[in-house]
């Protein structure tokens, strides 16, 4: 049981700042949430004995029991539909969908039930459901294992959507999301699960910024790169490279994909006057359009160039061999930046 909470010891006994992987950070957050709130229950396909195919729930069933952490039959609509009933019975369900692409069978329950029950019941039946979705591509996986559903979820009234970019964010955002009274879709960038980073478990959100907003991951003054999930790390690499050419890029981790922190977007771009938004999802009707339009709306007269989007293409997510052609890579992001920097009003 490597990387499990059983190995990492009892919550709170370690030093506040530890180096851990995102998998460990998420596992630890879940362990603590289970310990803190007896109404929390975790379930999904292979979440119990196996600890999940990504081991995010590793050791939790052994520690908290089969009542709190359990396997369900193989049916995503069933898992999410069941979550509605558990929430109505006073529980805080934390269901898992095994891979992003298998959230589609549950869309009806997510959109028509989870997102609307609080509204429909006039606030008397809240839906404190935290749906964990291992998300995005980059792991050379089979079909349907590399989807980006943020634009779909962000469009649905009644949902909140968040995605962490590193272990520290993962720990804090999951602890925050899993204690909210509203449904939150928690999109975990699966290609980052095994990357390690420092996690300061002491502070509610060490590193600054409210856990509900976007976060400046690197300051700069020539251009703002907006990203979320796995693309944040890539944008930080790009900023590093650009800095060698004297271009100072500000990297904004959007974190919350709904609601979007429009104020932070505006503040950054008012300073840099240029923006590029990066995501893995296909271009058309992707969340990049919303981000670009929010920026344009707020900064129209200061913008030096139209906001550029560097995204996946309008094609089904390709097989591993072509993955690197599909996901925005460093070069494509640099081209996008170049287009903005070189933009001349026609």
């Amino acid at each position: 049981m490597s990387n499990s909470i059983l190995e990492s010891g009892t919550p709170g006994t370690e030093a506040a700042a530890t180096v851990m992987s995102m998998q460990q950070a998420l596992n630890r957050a879940l362990d603590e949430v289970l310990a803190e709130n007896p109404k929390t229950v975790i379930f999904g396909e292979d979440c119990g004995r196996l600890g999940g195919v990504f081991r995010i729930t590793d050791g939790l069933q052994a520690k908290h029991g089969t009542q709190r952490v359990f396997d369900t039959p193989l049916a995503e609509s069933g898992i999410l539909g069941m979550s509605v009933g558990l929430a109505m019975a006073g529980f805080h369900p934390i269901p898992e969908v095994q891979f992003d692409g298998f959230a589609y069978p549950a869309v009806n329950q997510i959109v028509c039930q989870i997102a609307r029950m609080n509204y429909r019941s006039r606030g008397t039946l809240p839906m404190p459901i935290t749906l964990r979705v291992p998300s995005f591509g980059g792991i050379r996986a089979p079909e349907h294992h590399g989807e980006s559903l943020e634009a779909l979820f962000a469009h649905v009234p009644g949902l909140k959507v968040v995605s962490p970019s590193n272990p520290h964010e993962a720990y804090h955002l999951l602890k925050y999301a899993a204690t909210r009274p509203d449904p939150v879709i928690f999109m975990e960038p699966k290609s980052r699960y095994w990357q390690k980073g420092e996690v300061d478990t002491d502070s509610a959100d060490a590193g600054g910024g409210a856990p509900t907003g976007a976060k400046v991951m690197r300051e700069g003054r020539h251009l703002t790169l907006v990203a979320w999930g796995a693309m944040v790390a890539r944008c930080l690499q790009v900023a590093e490279l650009a800095a060698e050419d004297g271009i100072e890029i500000e990297v904004l981790d959007l974190r919350w994909l709904k609601p979007i922190d429009a104020a932070s977007l505006a503040a950054s771009v008012r300073k840099t006057r240029r923006a590029v938004v990066v995501h893995e999802a296909p271009l058309t009707s992707g969340l990049g359009a919303e981000v670009a339009q929010l920026i344009t709306q707020a900064c129209f007269s200061t913008l030096k160039a139209p906001v550029e989007r560097v995204t996946g293409f309008d094609v089904p997510y390709p097989s591993g061999d072509l993955e690197d052609e599909y996901i925005p890579n460093i070069d494509r992001i640099l081209f996008g930046i170049q287009r903005v920097l070189e933009y001349k009003r026609g």
Partner: protein, 349 residues
Amino acid sequence: MDTLPLAASGGDAGPLSAAELRRLYSLMVAVRHLDTSAIAWQRQGIIPGYAPELGQEAAQVGSGYAVDTTRDFVFPTYREMGVARTMGVDMVGYMSTHKATWHGGLYDPAASRLAPIQAVVGGSVLHAVGWAHGQTLAGPADGKLGVALTYFGDGASSQGDVHEAMNFAAVMKAPVVFFVQNNGWAISVPTERQVAGGSVAARAAGYGMPALQVDGDDVVAVVDATRRAFAHARAGHGPVLIEAMTYRRGPHSTSDDPGRYRSLDEERDGAGVDPLERLRQRLLADGIADEAFFAEALVAAKAEEEQIRTGIQALGPRPGAEMFDLVFQETTPALQAQAAHWREESEHV
């Protein structure tokens, strides 16, 4: 049809007393009168639409009667007015959904133990399973589990969610009673083009779950079956399926025209004897009630309908701000900004 036996025999309750039978009659009359009146309301422009349950009073009143609102929870579709009335739900709040006041109705579902009215066919069946599983998580079964009673139709039985619900419930031994009103029709599609094999109850055995197929137009039989199913589930033996065989005597909804897909002859043959009339005859034959009682029950039903109608007519539109305020428990800055914007533009006008 092969069905598995129930593990627990009957509830604590013995056979229905005369008073209980009279009570069932009164409920059925109240429901019948409100139901037929609601169609008139629609014709008069009081409400924009309605889904009548003419002919299903016995199935609804009988099953709703078995509910213990101190511990059970009920998951209706859009056609369970009779269940709501039997459970004592605020009927102005209930009917308000048909006035297009608020999707789901204005009654308090948590306090009423009746989930909001559900328009997605098959949508709430899984909710019942989750709620019921929650009862077992709360502690070991002591024969006193709260039971989830979930309603759906023959048409809904085709939905994948209903299968997932039955399988989940049976695997987890969740205290759920699946109550199917097989009323012969899903809008224009008859049961034989909908339910392969001809019976929803016959599906239960495949999940290792007991089922009861019951004459849904016989209120006493329905009460009895539902009580038995509740006892089984309450004792921790897992889910039960009840298929109440009945007939949708009216149109699917006030905007439906059954003449396009079934003849009056077919309707007469399919419908059989009116369940309300059946109970009346029984009470008369057994000397449990007389014409005076029936007349009194109708007067009460009329008074009740009038009160509800007055309530519905008095109901103004909800303040538009509720559109924004009720989305979340914790609202968001984006939503607040939209609400402010909306307020500005609508006050302008």
